[in-house]
């Protein structure tokens, strides 16, 4: 009987004019666009220089800045106020003001200051830009320190697991999570409620089919769709970004299948409680947005306030993103992930049990 029910679900999905296309196009678009759009790397920050010193030192400093890939010295301004107008017009992001007698002070007192003003309308760009610029300036001077006073501590940073600090590598696993959540969460959420709207549920409810079988027949198709989507995404990640999981692919599929059960279960629960597709859609959106924002997808969970971290603790997506990043970048095995796997398994069991209980043939 289950086989027939599942077959029916697939027929319904495949005969829908829109759904099969969406299931294929959605992951492709996501993979093609998102890593670029959600890129946090800062490049090409435009700098206006107000050089009141016009010395050899100040010119050297400006050249050093210009030679970095992060900055473009866009304009030279006559005065600080001129530069400010440029910021206001959106022509530049940062003003670097070099005071008069800069070189002299630097040589005599080894202590001269420059002024950096940052346009922080775009917070990340502003903050990162300011930090990069100070770095470059201090680097410039440590390099020029010919008088033997070399820096006492030499910090060498080594980035592990993502040595080139490639943002795309970091984002791809997160995007996979998001895709699975969206497709395997929304589709089931709309499924049972659509049967309610079409009236077909009435006909099903008078048959002797057990609840358990019915819910499973709703769950398994999305599980399979999840696998298909996942495969597409893995292939695309490999082809386009050259990112492939460092960990084992089998582990990856296994854990992804548990995660699909979690989100599909959640979707079915929502579907059971909703009376219209609209209602199901908005409730699902509500949970999705909270889940995505509190999952450490864009911002790390560790830097959230304590109460938010508590909420993130009951967010299944957060565990899966951890798993994905550890698997993809670090190559962790099952034994390293026991905490996350336990959490996910519990969520999967809880949601699906809830879905079976909350599906009522009678009201």
């Amino acid at each position: 009987m289950l086989k027939y029910l599942i077959e029916k679900e697939f027929k319904a999905i495949m005969r829908n004019k829109f759904l099969p296309k969406l299931i294929l196009v959605f992951p492709v678009m996501m993979m093609l666009l998102m890593p670029w759009a959600a890129n946090l790397d800062i490049k090409d920050i435009k700098v206006a220089v107000v050089d009141n010193d016009r010395s050899q030192l100040s010119t050297g400093l400006v050249n050093k800045i210009n030679s970095s890939t992060y900055f473009i010295v866009e304009r030279y301004a006559k005065s600080y106020n001129d530069a400010k107008t440029m910021v206001q017009n959106g022509e530049v992001d940062i003003i670097l003001e070099i005071p008069e007698n800069y070189e002299k002070d630097q040589v005599r007192e080894k202590n001269a200051k420059v002024n950096i003003s940052v346009n922080a309308v775009n917070g990340t760009r502003g903050a990162m830009g300011g930090a990069y610029l100070s770095n470059i300036i201090s680097e410039f001077f440590s390099g020029r320190n010919v008088s033997g006073q070399t820096a006492l501590i030499n910090v060498a940073t080594q980035t592990r697991y993502n040595p080139t600090m490639d943002y795309k590598k970091f984002m791809v696993p997160a995007l996979m999570t998001m895709l699975l959540t969206l497709l395997c969460g929304f589709l089931p959420a709309l499924n049972i409620v659509s049967e309610k709207e079409a009236g077909t549920i009435e006909q099903i409810n008078v048959t002797p089919i057990p609840k358990f079988t019915f819910i499973f027949s709703k769950l398994i198709p999305y599980w399979i769709i999840g696998f298909i989507v996942l495969t597409i995404v893995i292939l695309l990640a490999k082809i386009i970004y050259g990112v492939s999981p460092v960990g084992s692919l089998a582990t990856f599929y296994l854990l992804a299948s548990v995660f699909v059960l979690v989100v599909s279960g959640l979707g079915l629960v929502i579907s059971n409680y909703s009376n219209t597709m609209q209602q199901a859609m908005f409730v699902m959106f509500f949970f999705m947005l909270i889940m995505i924002m509190m999952a450490g997808l864009f911002t790390p969970v560790d830097s959230m306030p304590e109460w938010a971290q508590l909420i993130a603790g009951i967010n299944p997506m957060r565990y899966f993103i951890e798993i994905m990043r550890m698997l993809y970048l670090k190559g962790s095995g099952l034994s390293d992930l026991t905490r996350q796997i336990t959490a996910l398994a519990l969520f999967a069991a809880a949601f699906n049990l809830w879905a079976i209980i909350s599906y009522r043939k009678k009201n």
Binding site: Y4, N16, E202
Partner: protein, 306 residues
């Protein structure tokens, strides 16, 4: 043997009392009709009898099984055709039938003789999707699906609403043949002309049964004289009729009015004369036998007056 026994069933939705204690029973192989307008509680009663809805009070047994305790047994043995077409629109005729047969752990082949009469009419279109069928064909498919597991009781909630007159007639013919095979049929309809095709009917109004009897029993039990009145200016005539002291009730009935009279001895001439006195001439007044609709109108009027 009683196939269905309904006792004092009530159901309330918030402030709306949908069923106010209804009772009836139908024996095996009987065609029992629930006759009443939209919103009179027919669908609620159907949903209670098919285990989709719990009654607030009262009891229902189907084939000796209680709808509360033995709902699983009931689901195995009843066929239900909801008022709204509720098969899978994306599946073909054939797939729908196979699907429902499988849900009841049977096959189309096994019970084909039962549905043959109906299904053979749509079989030429078996590859067509349910959504592309005409109204009459959809209904035949729905009936086939409700019958495919050989139910002992068939519940049909307004099966002919929105179906053309020819298909309606055909449909009732098919029900007659099913009845002969011993299937108990509970059917609801807002069409009074279909009521007389049932063995017994219950007239339902605002959640109560006004009368349960055979169609003939209902019309003959009405101890009123009824006449039809036809004239040129129908609406003023209706208003005038209502004012006449000899007329008990007057209501529109298609292209004529029906009136019931207070006194059995009143003749058609008396009515013509009285109407003539207040300026209505050229009236066609005839004595008629009461039909189910007259009975329904009269009973509900009497009920609301009490």
């Amino acid at each position: 043997m009683e196939s269905i026994i309904v006792k004092d069933v009530t159901k309330r939705y918030g402030s709306v009392q949908a069923l106010r204690g209804v009772s009836f029973s139908a024996h095996k192989g009987e065609m029992f009709g629930l006759i009443g307008p939209d919103g009179s509680g027919k669908t609620s009663l159907f949903r209670i009898m098919t285990t989709l809805l719990l009654a607030d009070s009262g009891s229902v047994t189907v084939d000796g099984f209680d709808v509360r305790k033995d709902y699983k047994r009931i689901r195995e043995r009843v066929g239900y055709m909801p008022g709204r077409f509720s098969l899978y629109q994306d599946l073909s005729v054939e797939e729908n039938l196979n699907f429902f047969a499988t849900l009841f752990k049977t096959t189309v082949e096994e019970n084909y003789p039962l549905v043959k009469d109906i299904y053979s009419q749509i079989e030429p279109f078996k590859k067509r999707k349910a959504r592309d069928l005409s109204g009459g064909m959809k209904q035949k498919l729905a009936l086939s699906c409700a019958l495919i597991h050989k139910p002992s009781v068939l519940f049909l909630d307004e099966p002919t609403t929105g179906v053309d007159p020819v298909s309606r007639k055909e449909f009732w013919g098919m029900l007659g043949r099913l009845k002969e095979q011993g299937i108990t049929i509970i059917v609801s309809t807002p069409y009074m002309d279909e009521a007389k095709l049932c063995d017994r009917i219950a007239l339902i109004n605002e959640g109560t049964f006004m009368k349960i009897d055979t169609p003939a029993g209902i019309t003959s039990s009405l101890e009123k004289k009824i006449m039809s009145v036809k004239g040129d200016d129908m609406y003023p005539i209706l208003k005038a009729l209502r004012e006449l002291p000899i007329v008990d009730m007057a209501f529109g009935f298609g292209d004529m009015h029906h009136i019931t009279l207070r006194d059995f001895s009143t003749t058609t001439d008396a009515v013509v004369k009285m109407m003539g006195n207040i300026g209505f001439t050229n009236l066609e007044v005839r004595e008629i036998d009461a039909n189910i609709e007259d009975c329904y109108m009269i009973l509900s009027k009497m009920k609301s007056e009490n």
